[in-house]
Symmetry: C2
Subunit: 336 residues, 2 copies
DNA sequence: TTGAAAGCGCTAACAA
DNA sequence: TTGTTAGCGCTTTCAA
């Protein structure tokens, strides 16, 4: 399994190895036939250039670190796919790392990326604490945060406009005649959740609605937690005709609980999600939701990072994308 | 963003740089206090070893290539997660590449991995043709195929026992009283599909059932194709009380079509899937299915590959894992 | 126990 | 147009 090197090729072709390097890099300072001959020899010998050696002298690995909580999360896996495609189209490959929502591990992975000399990192933070946690390292590697809004933090990030997304949702429900809309699954300690809740509150205020909450007391979001929370909610005496879930995952939990409680969606209550994860479009689920433009997000993230790398930008950019409503079958019109 | 090197540390500590290297690698041939002093200096200077340089001399990047059709496929993303965790636990990182079910691209990616000097590659092939397509390169990099059964091919692979999985499924349905079981979504050109269909046929034969097929004429599997196929099926006059779908994705397509046609699952027909992708456990879906042990698969794949790498094994291993039945709510008992 | 030096495979500046 | 050479940051002999 010994690989053939540039020197082997040079010897076989009877030239110096810098000539081979020139032939391969498409340098103009080489005659057409030596190039042809060398390329021919390369082919015959099955020569494949050693990227590691090249990285070393070029001081660029053409590698991007992708650190995210968990690829096995439909939102993340979709992004990972698009990020890879986009990066590859630009000549980069991805080192994938799952932080498993562990701040300590996240930091460890970031350091690892420094050691691996990646050209930059795309980070879907575990939470807003990630910024603090990583700040000692941030100066050492071009980084763009993604998915989470870091507010005024002096680091590049790309996120969706969570505030406006929530407003769009409330307005949609309002348009359907709903006047009692409960906001479900708000979680402390997440800026994303915070902004969505603010958008919800603001929209309620403007439309003359009374905000109602059912807060997530767990430290994470999952179908299971959504389910447990919804079970509690349905056991209470509260009046609402629609549930606006902080995330699709939460909404799925609500669906599950509703199914058990024989509460029909959307006949008995309407349900609106946020994110538009793949699950939401599945048959029988058909969740109406606020979509995060994932392909766009991936593309903007990669572009921002490569910009930063290639232009050695020292400042930072905040890119906020607009969410849109995806109408499916979980929300119904009610009589005012 | 200039990184401090081993030389900088050496200068600061007043030693030669080979001494620093020794201190870092935990070599025994160094005195305790110089080591302490050097480690201290490293910390102060925020030194992080350059893995690329190390890779070059060690001739090992501690990098594994992971080439798969599409991480944004619930089956793949789950595997990708576990593979990453497992690999990291063993000191390796993952370069993730999506082949997008493109044979040409797959080959390109494999070559890329050779250039990147990864220590090995895990490949979820686009199809059985992948083996042929990649065979010129296979000798150049330790590789283990995953997910697909390569039958007698002289390459390592890990797959589930698709044949037995299908038998388990048929027997389960038979036990529920079903005598007319239709096999749905069989696709030509996939060994996995082939083996499942064979298992189905064999089980039918043994139980005295007449096999019935509804073949997938598309070149890929997706909910959409499953849906289209199911629409055709439901438009025909065929008698069956259960559908055994070749994949969960196909089953989801059937569900969607059934919903439109007002065919109730499991009341009117039972539906059994294969794979147990995450979607299948979602509320309202609750698909009964044959589970591929994904975490185990990931773990076995990584172990096989590292074995091959570390022991410089030249032979190959075929590891076949046992699928199991996951009972949910899409299959009902019928009166014989 | 420590230092000097070679070399991993490549690019690029400098000579010829 | 081509060859020679230095050097990227590290590990590892070989000497001291």
């Amino acid at each position: 399994m010994k690989n053939v090197t540039i020197k082997d090729v040079a010897k076989a072709a009877g030239v110096s190895y810098s000539t081979v390097s020139r032939a391969l890099s498409g340098s103009p300072e080489i005659s057409a036939d030596t190039r042809e001959r060398i390329l021919q020899v390369c082919k015959e010998m099955n020569y494949t250039a050693n990227t590691v050696a090249r990285s070393m002298v070029m001081k660029s690995t053409k590698l991007l670190g992708l650190i995210l909580p968990d690829v096995n999360n439909p939102f993340m896996s979709e992004l990972a796919y698009h990020i890879d495609r986009q990066a590859r189209a630009r000549g980069y490959n991805i080192i994938l790392c799952n932080s498993s929502r562990d701040l300590e591990l996240e930091r460890e992975l970031f350091e690892l990326m420094i050691g691996r000399q990646v050209d930059g990192v795309i980070l879907f933070p575990t939470g807003p604490e990630s910024y603090q946690s990583l700040s000692p390292y941030l100066g050492r590697l071009p980084t763009v945060f993604a998915g989470e809004n870091l507010r005024e933090m002096p680091e590049s990030y790309v996120s969706v406009d969570n505030y406006r997304g929530a407003r769009i949702g409330v307005e949609y429900l309002y348009g359907l005649g709903h006047r009692d809309i409960l906001y479900f699954g708000r979680r402390r300690g997440s800026t994303t959740h915070q902004l969505r809740a603010e958008g919800y509150a603001a929209a309620c205020h403007e439309l003359g609605l009374t905000p109602q909450y059912c807060n997530n007391t767990f430290s994470a979001t999952s179908i299971k937690y959504g389910y447990q929370l919804a079970k509690q909610l349905f056991a209470q005496e509260r009046h609402f005709t629609a549930i606006f879930a902080a995330t699709d995952t939460n909404a799925l939990g609500v669906m599950q609980a509703a199914e058990e409680e024989k509460i029909r969606i959307p006949e008995d209550i309407s349900l609106l999600g946020f994110d538009n994860i793949r699950d939401s479009g599945l048959p029988r689920i058909n969740l109406t939701t606020i979509e995060q433009p994932k392909k766009m997000l991936a593309s903007v993230v990669v572009d921002s990072l490569l910009d930063k790398i290639q232009n050695e930008l020292s400042g930072y950019t905040h890119r906020i994308l607009m969410p849109t409503l995806v109408e499916r079958a979980s929300c119904a019109r009610v009589e005012g």
